[in-house]
Symmetry: C2
Subunit: 618 residues, 2 copies
């Protein structure tokens, strides 16, 4: 019998024993992370499907897995023989996982899951959408002990403290600012534990306790970094901040004595990873600040009745997004180093294409080797996308040694990559001309460039969100009836996650999401419009922008962007006659800065070449 | 003793007799209208302040009036001797009226007002922001019978039916579509009358009853027009739609026998204006659709306990905003007629400036006379703004015969005006060059024009809201550190209000407002960027745009705008070297259309002049 069919059968037996009708297993960890550590890969263990996105449900008569278009082919192959039905999310007639739950439970029953995997907002959504007179929801059903005997241990790779010359602020200082913010919380909704009703008051509340479960928030607050998640230098942990104390919950083995001492010196109380659930259970009649969209529902369930829950985006999320002066100074250094590596890569690519065998994978490897030469480089900030021609039309293309395409002296190579440095996180995309390019591709490339330049050069009043500015980048493509099916850019962490809320550039306004905030001075956001034509080509040009304060006058505070990324934009595919005078100025100013910043770090030959590729255009 | 001090004293006596501690009188009617009929001007009657915006409160020891910057000087003068304190809204340290209420009632008390003047959303806001254990709110306190013996009678000017060749749809048809929408309401919030809690369920509800109180919604639904409010051809009325019946509440004297018959033929039941309150009181255990932001709270109070209130933007608001094919065909005719009048005005102005005495007021009068020559013209759609040089810096400037500035052969005349025609409502602004213009003014004029053209030429994916597009119009000004302190444009009714929700162009995203909806095909919105430099000059160029469906491809449904307004844009202040090639194309295409559309309706001399002023620019 198929290994996964056996696992599902075993699960069904356990469900029967536990009186559970529908079991629900999402892809997640206990912290709402984008990427997850192996310890949390329960869905993959049970179903055999190894993709990064998917949701499994199991009843006595049916098992189903939902995943999206990226994974249809892989999921079909991996689910073969498991008896699990594939639900192709996004296709017509295919329900959402939530709609499927509603259908399975329309006549009532018991829904079970491990609540640590799901947010409190999701639990509230279930409470609102399922018939609560007939359906029982159990958030405490963890069956992994029985199901997964060889489960990997919880990661406790060594964590380290990031010095103040990198962070710009001590943990003690950050804690004091967080406590100040806790005195004046404007919650979206206020819940009283034990009451079925929510209520809202247009007033400020004082939070006695602040629960933090997002790993990057915790890493930022405690100036702590680790490697529990690939590319994301975070530490598996929880935190609870009170008016006088700060509790940090993590595997004790993750800290050496020095790190422990440094934390304790700043008033941090260390507790085991799991202990937050017991500690939460002791918070009698407390007013607790938490972000219902981010905190897991098991933790909220652990809070005793009588607690008042203030649902609000926590102060750390915003404080972390606004880079301080030290961080910004460091980021300039990180981008300079990164720019040296990426520019040397461009030089190498342009001089070796057609002369030696280069594949997508070998190009990526060469770029990584160049980054490794930079002092303070730790690891890539995400898996490099190195995609040739039609492969670049797949936005999340990943090559491996075996299936890697060989590059020829024609078309485009798109390289989207980034680094983690002590001085910060980078993310940059360039699309390189390898030889002959059809006119249509040049038109697309030029439109992408025009959008990227227009957003970079924006001057705007304080109060703007990404949704107000997105059309600057997207407009030139929309005018041609083209689009890219994603946001224009995302926030970037500081030696943290390459995707960071709450700032972004995204045109769709979703009031229920907290990810299109007002752009504040010091926020770093990527600017990466693109064109993706299936089975033909893909183009993306990406710079990182930091938001700065400009003129203040009778109209208000004007803001502008400073570009962090420093590496040439390939001019070979630009149709100069399509650029406006303003666009040419922006491009030339940028290339002047690239040349001046990088020249001291290049060889004589590279420098001469750089002068040519950053020449002003007319 | 001052007349108004006496009225306030009389009010204080009545408050004492009625046990009211704080009395609250806003500027409003019972329908949330922007402009109000004299019958509703209680605040002006009590305070002596005649401005169009202001809020009065009276206690035994204090009386205060809040108004905004437009009215500080007028209010000071008019309040002199009344004993009423002026609160200058928007100035530092000045509370909002709501904050003042909180302060006055911080130790408890009874707050009274006539709930017909205030929305249900406002009542809920008060309930949330005032301490409901100590404060009693009474929404039924109408003291006008005692206070205002010579109050004008409720307006019941003759109403008339608009024929289907103008409306494109019968009332019977509109009612059937409204009833279809009532079967699937997605309320923002659901309230149960008599319960203190609100609850929300992610599901669709069926409304048994739909209460409509907005006058333009009612006029649209019943194809009825009148003249109860200056410039807004509406009829004082309420409506209640059930699954089988349609009740229209208005003063019986407003309808002649034919109109009555026509309405009754379409299944409309006529009831007296005030009877809606008794009828609402009879709706036992009904599910009632209403828009809490628009319906008055007295009407909601009249609903019996046990009713379920579905708070949602009603289907009429959206249906009315999306102009149908007949309306769009008619609108083209209305704009052609309006364009003939405005263009003849421009010809007259350009040929007579410096030759005869022209004032702001006489120019406006001449324009009105030209509009009156157009068949089907009924009245101006708002009070014409005719503003010379520095006067144009006041966005809502109004001139009168006595204080009207004389125009010289230098500077700008800004004219913002519009007409009500059977074929629709128009709104157009042009800024005319009268002679010498400083370079800076030309720079400003050119930036305003560039923004206006960019928004007009936008191509964008379906799903965009005004907030996504606003920067196209505002961008050229923001790049120069300039701004206009208002939205870029508003929706326009069809022979209805010149300001119509829910579509607009406005960059600030206010999730609590319903006025920045997704732009649908058939919505008409103004595009009117401007520059206003105090004590110097004002510039505004305004066209109306109708949203149209463009290409549909793998990226989605593209949308674009078609310009409705047809009258030349004065080229004399344009710095051509600052226009991009694309902007010149848009301008030339527009002027070509203006020339071709208007030529048949002009004299030979006017036609020759028009060819010159609509010449293509290079």
């Amino acid at each position: 019998m198929n290994l996964f069919a056996e696992r599902i059968n075993k699960l069904r037996l356990l469900l029967k024993q536990n009186g559970i009708d529908v079991y629900y297993v999402p892809t997640a960890d206990f912290h709402g992370s984008e990427y997850i550590n192996d310890y949390f890969k329960v869905r993959a263990y049970l179903s055999g499907f190894t993709g990064s996105a998917g949701t499994l449900f199991v009843t006595q008569s049916e098992a189903g897995l939902f995943t999206d278009g990226r994974y249809f082919i892989q999921a079909e192959r991996e689910l073969l023989g498991s008896g699990i039905t594939l639900y192709r999310s996004g296709m017509e007639q295919v329900p959402t996982p939530e709609e499927k739950l509603s259908e399975l439970l329309k006549d009532g029953g018991v829904l079970g899951f491990d609540g640590r995997f799901l947010s409190y907002a999701f639990l509230r959504f279930l409470n609102e959408s399922l018939d609560n007179e007939k359906v029982t929801i159990r958030c405490d059903v963890d069956l992994t002990a029985e199901l997964w005997p060889d489960r990997p241990a919880l990661s406790h790779r060594p964590a380290y403290r990031l010095a103040e010359r990198y962070t710009g602020k001590s943990t003690a200082q950050k804690l004091s600012e967080v406590r100040e913010a806790m005195k004046k919380v404007h919650p979206e909704t206020v819940y009283k534990k034990g009451s079925k009703q929510n209520f809202s008051k247009k007033q400020a509340f004082t939070a006695e306790v602040y629960l933090i479960t997002s790993l990057d928030d915790i890493a930022w607050l405690f100036n702590l970094r680790g490697s529990d998640i690939l590319h994301n230098p975070v530490v598996l942990s929880y935190a609870m901040i009170t008016e006088t104390k700060a509790f940090l919950y993590l595997e004790p083995a993750a800290l050496d004595d020095t790190t422990k001492m440094l934390l304790e010196e700043e008033g941090v109380i260390l507790r085991p990873y799991d202990a937050i659930y017991e500690d939460a259970a002791k918070l009698r009649d407390c007013t607790v600040l938490l972000d219902a969209k981010r905190v897991n529902c098991a933790l909220v369930q652990a809070l005793p009745k009588g607690c008042t829950l203030l649902d609000a985006v926590g102060p750390v999320l915003f404080a972390k997004a606004v880079k301080n002066d030290t961080e910004l100074k460091n980021l300039a250094a990180a981008h300079r180093k990164d720019g040296v590596a990426v520019t040397k890569f461009m030089y190498w690519l342009k001089h070796n294409i057609g002369k030696q065998t280069i594949t997508e994978a070998s190009a990526a490897a060469h770029l990584l080797a160049l980054r490794k030469e930079q002092e303070g480089f730790l690891e890539p900030s995400f898996e490099t996308i190195s995609a040739y021609n039609a492969n670049a039309a797949m936005m999340h293309y990943h090559t491996d040694e075996k299936n890697s395409a060989e590059l020829n002296t024609e078309g485009f190579l798109l390289v989207d990559s980034g680094g983690q440095y002590y001085e910060g996180t980078t993310d940059v995309t360039r699309t390189y001309v390898l030889g002959e390019i059809p006119l249509e591709w040049k038109k697309h490339y030029t439109a992408v460039l025009r959008g990227m330049l227009a957003l970079s050069a924006a001057n705007f009043l304080y109060g703007c969100r990404g949704a107000n500015l997105d059309i600057l980048a997207r407009g030139p493509l929309w005018q041609m009836g083209l689009d890219y099916r994603c946001g224009t850019g995302h926030g970037v962490g500081y030696l943290l996650n390459v995707h960071e809320a709450p700032n972004n550039f995204r045109w769709r306004i979703m009031p229920e999401r907290t990810d299109s905030c007002v752009l504040e001075e010091g926020m770093v956001t990527t600017n990466e419009p693109g064109v993706y034509v299936e089975e033909s080509h893909g183009i993306r040009i990406e710079n990182e922008l930091v938001c700065r304060k400009g003129t203040k006058n009778e109209y208000g505070q004007f803001m502008y962007f400073e570009t962090l990324t420093v590496t040439p934009i390939d001019l070979e595919a630009v149709l100069l006659e399509e650029l406006t005078a303003a666009e040419k100025r922006t491009l030339n100013d940028y290339h002047k800065k690239v040349y001046e910043t990088l020249l001291p770090y290049l060889t004589k030959e590279e420098g001469e070449w750089l002068r040519e590729v950053t020449r002003p255009v007319e």
